[in-house]
Symmetry: C2
Subunit: 338 residues, 2 copies
DNA sequence: CTGAAAGCGCTAACAT
DNA sequence: ATGTTAGCGCTTTCAG
């Protein structure tokens, strides 16, 4: 394998052109403050020599690293793919590199990363944070931070309004005649699952329909089987799942047990992940603006709030119900079920 | 928003303990070369003060950055999710950070990234490279490089053996009675698509079956519709798709046009991405060890070949055919087709 | 085993 | 408009 070649430095360029290193630096970074003729010569020399700035060295003096980090609890979860995409796209658009960290659903890994990373990045987008409000507030003192799907007083965040969306979904089921539904909860640590459940509970009461909470479950397809069995056991006619992964996993289990969706049971997912439109049956689900969330979060992170300007600490992005084929009228009899 | 706090440096620790900075550095990096008692005091002080090394500064002197980059042509493609996962997991296991770059299917972005990145990372894993052999060889001279799904003489690589897999798939179709099949090609720039086609062509001739090449197509679900129409037009009874994305997109189109899979037409995908098992019908596909590929590539990248030890430049990972429900016996009549 | 000192490549005052 | 001079935080000689 070839040797790792010595990199071309600013000093090489300076020597070639016959100027000071600081002049080269300026020519490349503040093109206005240098004579056009000299700047052209410097730029040309840099190109000829194949000069590329060393971000490490640059960040050491300037404090800026031109890179941001995105922390997600589980890179395995397709939901986060959209977030990664959106964040990556916006980071690139704003000239930043993108470090991806999987915190493995662990508060400890999250805390450690938050402690180690500040020197390496200009800011952090933290999705589905596991830490406490106090810990997050402390972290935000060390590095610019934007939370995704989590709100903490005083911290910047962008959340998808799945609570409002869940109500839409509930309305949808109620309008189809359902009077007894279940909410299949996500992880106990999930802020959005808790928030959604509270909204559902309140509204169900107002609407006079039964809404039971089942779970918590891990947000995975594998857990869908157990969730499905629990739903069946509760004898409801409709189920709102914490996310599509769980719902799709459950769909398979329902099929195995001979429970027809939506004839015997209506199923609503959440997120509208890749696959929700081509699973069997195509899933009625809460469509969330995942990519947009990633973009907005990065934008928020990178925007330096001008002094005096009102800082919008939290943004809530709307969701909408996408009706496909997993929901239908309430069954008139409990056909095919014990 | 809180101010960005001054970070604790090695000098702070040194002052607290009353030693030189170099001693602190050694205590933290070469624990053997310092007295146990002093090392303990230093480590304790570092913990108390909340010291975390600044990777930028460290890399400036040491040359090592403790981070690697993964370059993928399109972060949107679920196929790469597995790769990202595997790479991220192995990088973490080996104590490295992970920078993700989407080269947007563009040779220029790829070249630029390869030029800019070397100072920031200890090595690069480059998936589905678009550049020429010469350009890649040049890049490998500047930074440790491992190619994924691309082979270049003299460079390290890990490829999934989809050519062999495609032959298995062809055998499968032939054994079901198919005599006229199509290969739906991926992008013209795809090394693995070309390689697969050559293998298929050769074997089809030997087996005495017809194998036409259709395409190229972009490797997306959206392109699946056009691919499906082309397949129908060629009046084959079986089709091998470049990837699952294309195949799943085609499945939907076939359904729209009233063509039954597998009754009228057998479909084989490639990759076994998320969703291939729950689409309609579940897809017979070439299962590729994507995550393993990511792990192996990172391992290869980070392993310093001992002098004298034989360097294994290229690794080929096996694939296998996963038979689900999109393939079946050849139709006896051209039912339902013009 | 520990300390002093010299940079790594770059930017940001401060001069001129 | 350009050059000079300090460092950024850390590792690494080189001396004790």
């Amino acid at each position: 394998m070839p040797q790792r070649r010595e990199a071309v430095t600013i000093a090489d360029v300076a020597r070639t052109v016959g100027v000071a290193t600081s002049t080269v630096s300026r020519a490349l970074n503040q093109p206005g403050r240098i004579s056009d003729e000299l700047r052209d010569r410097i730029v040309a020399a840099a190109a000829t020599l194949g000069y590329h700035p060393n971000p490490q060295a640059r960040s050491l003096t300037s404090g800026r690293t031109q890179s941001i980090a995105l922390l997600v609890p589980d890179i395995t979860n397709p939901f986060f793919f959209g977030l990664i995409r959106g964040a990556q796209a916006q980071a690139r658009a704003r000239g930043h590199r993108h470090v991806l960290v999987d915190t493995e659903e662990s508060a400890e890994v999250e805390a450690l990363t938050l402690a180690e990373l500040p020197a390496s990045v200009d800011g952090i987008v933290l999705a589905a944070a596991r830490l406490t409000d106090a810990e997050l507030t402390a972290a935000a003192g060390r590095v610019p931070l934007v939370l995704v799907n989590r709100e903490v007083p005083g911290l910047r965040s962008v959340v998808m309004d799945t609570a409002a969306g869940a109500l839409q979904a509930l309305d949808h089921l109620v309008s189809l005649g359902h009077r007894s539904v279940a909410y299949v909860a996500g992880p106990a640590t999930s802020w959005s699952s808790r928030k959604r459940w509270r909204a559902l509970q309140r509204t169900a009461r107002r609407l006079g329909v039964d809404c039971v909470r089942i779970g918590p479950f891990p947000p995975t397809m594998a857990a869908g089987a157990a969730a499905a069995d629990a739903v069946v056991h509760h004898r409801v006619t409709g189920a709102l799942f914490f996310n599509d992964l769980l719902a799709i996993g459950a769909l398979r289990r329902f099929a195995e047990r001979g429970i027809r969706v939506p004839d015997d049971l209506s199923v609503v997912g959440c997120d509208d992940i890749f696959g929700a439109d081509f699973c069997r049956p195509p899933l009625t689900t809460l469509t969330t603006p995942v990519e947009q969330t990633g973009r907005v979060a990065v934008d928020m992170l990178l925007s330096t709030p001008t002094v005096g300007e009102p800082v919008r600490a939290g943004q809530t992005l709307p969701t909408h119900l996408t009706i496909r084929e997993s929901t239908g009228p309430v069954p008139t009899r409990r056909a095919g079920r014990p």
